[in-house]
Subunit: 324 residues, 2 copies
DNA sequence: GTGAAAGCGCTAACAG
DNA sequence: CTGTTAGCGCTTTCAC
């Protein structure tokens, strides 16, 4: 920048103002500066700018698995929403591991990121104290609250009710669930909610019909196999997410179990592949794009100075396809 | 850091050395510093460090569509490979638009990123001059070369030959392709290569059996519809990638065209959903994880000082499933 | 084993 | 409309 100033015969402040437009610059001066910039193929140093202004143009998106289409879509939407403000999305994979979640939060703090959007998996509310203390806006996308952190969370009651109606209408009574791991923070709200609502429908979700594993295809297959080996076999299985449901389908194929004739299968999220598999997956749609937009909105408001906590509920929706 | 130094009763240089371990520090001094750090919940400012050292810990991954499972997987792998070196991946979506590709390259330059991995779509080789001139290592993952830039590229000859064998064995002769857009850089090598090899098999790929569109599901559907409306109907359709192939399947369902009885369908990439759809998609597998590892490797070598250009070929592989 | 001090490249008062 | 200048917070010689 000093070089540019010299070549253009002006001060470096003027160069800065030409670049930022934060104060008027005479046309000839501006032209001279622009010529010098082109001549020297000068590129402003965003690092120096960030140090000086204390503002970064990077937002971290911290998720358990970027290869999961739900999170990939979330990343795409967030990017789309934030790009207009000159913000970029740094995607970080935690593989659902607590240590990596912590490390990434610390990293975001060190980098003085403009903000963080995170789907925590094994983090506890007080893990957020340092980053919040550092003044970095954080938005959590999760089923459970993390205290004072802005939250985007599903409102799935109706969708689950609709699913149960459908299941009941098909004459099914023996509900099971392939849920997430026991040590995920907040337990498994999807499980609790399903259990509560099932009771209202006169069905039960007994402990022995709940199996657990990671949110992975493999775990879905294992879970399904386990449930099929029970003396009391379920006739409808809810899954923690669609990836698990796909794994369950894998195993059903392998075992020659017919879906939905022998057992109904209900996913969660409506990931892009849910309508691709056969039978097409009946699922609780939780729209990644909607979540991304809400998270972006919340973040932007914080960036604009909002101080009070806010929660946004995103309505989930029952999508009837062929697996029930 | 100055605060920490004051509280610990040492100089800020010492604090820096405690943090970096770049020179020995007496145990008591170190303890005092660490206590002060904890007391003040001090977090090092990565921006200031970057400005001073001229090194960033961020690598940009610039792709046409992060929601495409191929690129999502690429992102995940790159992250995994680079994390050990303390590098983070900034995922940037170009939506295949030249203007966005250019803007993102410029942004990476301004941010003085440690490196860039990019799948260019409408960029020309000289678009890379500024960033390369700025000394930022760039790795391109593409079918065509971008001159002096390190390249990860498919070696798909055998896989395509195998596909053609299969098609020929099924008694099919009328090959078609749903290719990418005409204005993509380097034209469409997948098309050229298919055409050349088809000739060797005594089949032809006439111009009127090539339709074009974006690498999107919608475009695949449109392309399939167009091909089905031809007087000279194909009996085997190759697709530019799996997303296009899925779109073609959508349309086949809609039109009541049976795959593979009426027409065979061959995808490209083996994206995660290829084995999920019914019929399962026969495809040319181009392994995203392999590409990611190769790109990471190339980048790391550059970071370690390699100056000479390098190209890595990743073997593609024919995956026979049910759509042929 | 430790400290003093220069300076990375920029922005934003302040002054004219 | 433009210039001067003081740092932002760190790393790294150089000196002790």
């Amino acid at each position: 920048m000093a070089d540019v100033a010299r070549v253009a015969g002006v001060s470096s402040a003027t160069v800065s103002y030409v670049l930022s437009g934060k104060r008027p610059v005479a046309p000839e001066t501006r032209a001279a500066v622009e010529a010098a910039i082109a001549d020297l193929s000068f590129t402003i140093n965003a690092t120096a700018r960030s140090l000086r202004t204390g503002r970064s143009s990077l937002v971290a998106l911290i998720v358990p698995d970027i290869a999961n289409p739900f999170f990939a879509q979330l990343a795409a939407t967030l990017d789309e929403e934030l790009r207009g403000l000159g913000l970029h999305v740094v995607v970080c994979n935690t593989r659902a591991r607590r240590a990596e979640e912590q490390a990434l939060l610390a990293e975001a703090t060190q980098q003085r990121f403009a903000g963080v959007v995170i789907t925590p998996f094994r983090l506890k509310p007080n893990d957020f104290e340092p980053i919040v203390g550092a003044g970095i806006p954080v938005v959590v996308s999760a089923d459970v609250s993390f205290g004072p952190i802005d939250l985007v969370t599903p409102d799935a009651g109706n969708a689950i009710r609709r699913a149960l109606e459908e299941v009941a209408a098909a004459g099914r009574r023996r509900i099971a669930m392939i849920a997430g791991p026991r040590d995920a923070t907040g337990g498994d709200p999807r499980l609790e909610q399903l259990r509560a609502l099932a009771l209202q429908f006169g069905m039960s979700l007994p402990r022995e019909l709940v199996v657990r594993g990671e949110h992975a295809r493999q775990a879905g297959a294992a879970g399904f196999g386990e449930l099929m080996s029970r003396r009391y076999r379920p006739d409808a299985i809810f899954c923690g997410n669609d990836v698990i449901a796909i794994g369950a389908m894998d195993k059903a194929n392998e075992l020659g179990v017919n879906i939905p004739a022998d057992v109904a299968l209900i996913g969660h999220d409506d990931a892009s592949f849910a309508s691709l598999v056969r039978p097409q997956l009946t699922t609780i749609r939780y729209p990644a794009a909607g979540v991304g937009r809400a998270a972006a909105q919340l973040l932007i408001e914080r960036l604009n100075g909002r101080q009070v906590h806010k929660t946004v509920h995103i309505k989930a929706e029952f999508v009837a396809r062929s697996s029930v």
